[in-house]
């Protein structure tokens, strides 16, 4: 081997950066930099965007050739690379989304919803955007040249489902659906869209709400009944919900079950140590590995294409229409109700908990400093958590039936 070959081998990473693939990697480093910047400087979902950004850097480093297998891939992504191991251990088998839901369940207090259960319907109405986006994706995806082999309508249905679910504003459910349909190549853009838009709820929701409501409507006051919620109710609720959801939409059982299991740990009163562990250590640990593993799916070849832009655009569409669906449903209900509902509450029916409820409560206070609707918006928001999981289960069930898979 001559000196030039040895040097080329030694500095293969530097040589790589000057190749076409290297330029793509540099673009991915910039995208990773933006995610890390948004996380640190703008405080947008830092717990997720920072690990995703760093995982993206790891996934786009120059490839190393595995001496045993001869496969060339970034060392973190090779067959035994730690990102591949994490992907197979936690995302390919749906473990991480389920663990995240146990943690989320342990954080959620359902008592505002149990005191005013009528708010639960907003959790259903705010899933409207999911299905509208699903339909729109079915129309747009086949138009992208080379994306899906001609006639592969099953793939279009699967990808459209995962894109629609971005509107659930619920990262784990989005991952669950994408993974169920084995969309590993699209996992990167789908999860980046889901988590980025979740962080952008304070930016996305207010203009949509303002466009659909008058100031008078935004100032509607709502009574809040300070009714007591018995401990038995709080304990029975997660158990019964799991059974009902498991019977009606069996596909949603892993997510509903884990969410409600976490909530039962919280409410039972005898597992305080486990409840705190689920809320803190479990949530933090899984978030770290989930984020970096998602980032690891953002490989330049699969990420830098028109599909990513389309997924990001459709994800935004889903978010906007979910918000609009909730607001319009509230306005529709007001036609029949004597006691009017503040239509902004409908927008809190998305799953971004607790951010959406806080945004809505803040908007109400801005219009009228003495109008407190935080508890009502929280009720709608926790309903959105349930609604998005059920919507995910419904989409998986119906699409699987129609494609026969």
């Amino acid at each position: 081997m001559d000196i030039q070959a040895i040097l080329t081998e030694l500095f293969s990473g530097v040589v790589y950066l000057f190749s076409m693939a290297g330029v793509k990697s540099l673009v991915m480093f910039i995208i990773a930099g933006v995610l890390i910047y948004l996380a640190i400087k703008k405080d947008y979902e830092p717990t997720l965007l920072l690990p995703i950004g760093f995982g993206c850097i790891l996934a786009n480093l120059p490839p190393a050739i595995d001496a045993l297998t001869g496969i060339s891939a970034p060392s973190a992504l090779g067959d035994s690379g730690f990102l591949s191991v994490l992907f197979n251990a936690g995302i390919a088998n749906e473990l991480f989304p389920v663990l995240i839901f146990i943690a989320v369940g342990a954080m959620i207090d359902f008592s505002p919803l149990l005191k005013d259960p009528s708010m639960i319907f907003f959790g259903a109405a705010a899933q409207f955007g999911i299905f509208m986006t699903f339909l729109l994706s079915l129309v747009l995806l086949p138009l992208i040249p080379g994306l899906i082999a001609e006639g592969d309508s099953d793939m279009v249905m699967k990808l459209a489902s995962a894109i629609g679910i971005i509107g659930a504003a619920d990262g784990p459910t989005t991952l669950f659906v994408a993974n169920h349909f084995q969309l590993k190549d699209y996992m990167g853009p789908i999860s980046v869209a889901a988590y980025s838009y979740m962080a952008l709820v304070p930016v996305i929701q207010p203009p949509v709400i303002k466009a659909l409501t008058t100031r008078k409507e935004r100032m509607i006051r709502m009574d809040y009944q300070e009714a007591r919620c018995s401990k038995t109710t709080l304990i029975l609720f997660p158990i019964i919900v799991t059974i009902v959801a498991g019977i009606i939409v069996p596909m949603s059982a892993p997510l509903v079950g884990s969410l409600m299991f976490g909530n039962l740990i919280r409410e039972c009163g005898v597992l305080e140590r486990l409840s705190k562990t689920a809320q803190n250590e479990l949530a933090n640990l899984v978030t770290i590995v989930l984020g970096i593993t998602i980032g690891g799916t953002m490989v330049a070849d699969k990420f830098l294409n028109p599909t990513t832009l389309l997924i990001l655009a459709l994800g935004l569409f889903a978010f906007v229409f979910d918000t609009a669906g909730g607001v319009l449903f509230a306005k529709f209900l007001n036609i029949f109700r004597k006691k009017k509902v503040n239509p902004m509450i409908g927008a809190a029916g998305i799953s971004a908990f607790p951010m959406s409820s806080r945004v809505i409560a803040k908007m109400a206070l801005k219009e009228d400093p003495s109008n407190f609707i935080l508890m009502q918006s929280t009720s709608a928001n926790v309903s959105g958590q349930l609604g998005s999981i059920v919507a995910g289960g419904m989409v998986i069930t119906l699409v699987s039936m129609l494609i026969g898979g």
């Binding site: 259960p117 319907f121 259903a124 079915l138 309508s153 249905m157 609720f237 009902v244 419904m394 119906l398």
Partner: protein
């Protein structure tokens, strides 16, 4: 609200059952993407409302029983 639910619930039960039944029939295997999409949209939205209505009724029932 009760009136609305009493109207919507049976409709949704029928609708969801219809969507499921329709989906399994082989005639839909060759249906266009848009037809399949509309079935998923209608069935999905009905299903979400149905399940959440059941949650609502469950909460109401619990409140009554535990009063």
């Amino acid at each position: 609200m009760k009136k609305l639910i009493s109207i919507l619930l049976p409709l949704m039960l029928v609708g969801t059952a219809f969507a499921e039944e329709a989906a399994v029939t082989s005639s839909l295997a060759g249906a266009s993407l848009l037809t399949k999409g509309l079935i998923v949209t209608a069935g999905g939205l009905l299903g979400v409302f149905l399940v959440l209505i059941l949650f609502f009724l469950t909460i109401k029932l619990m409140q009554k029983v535990l009063k």
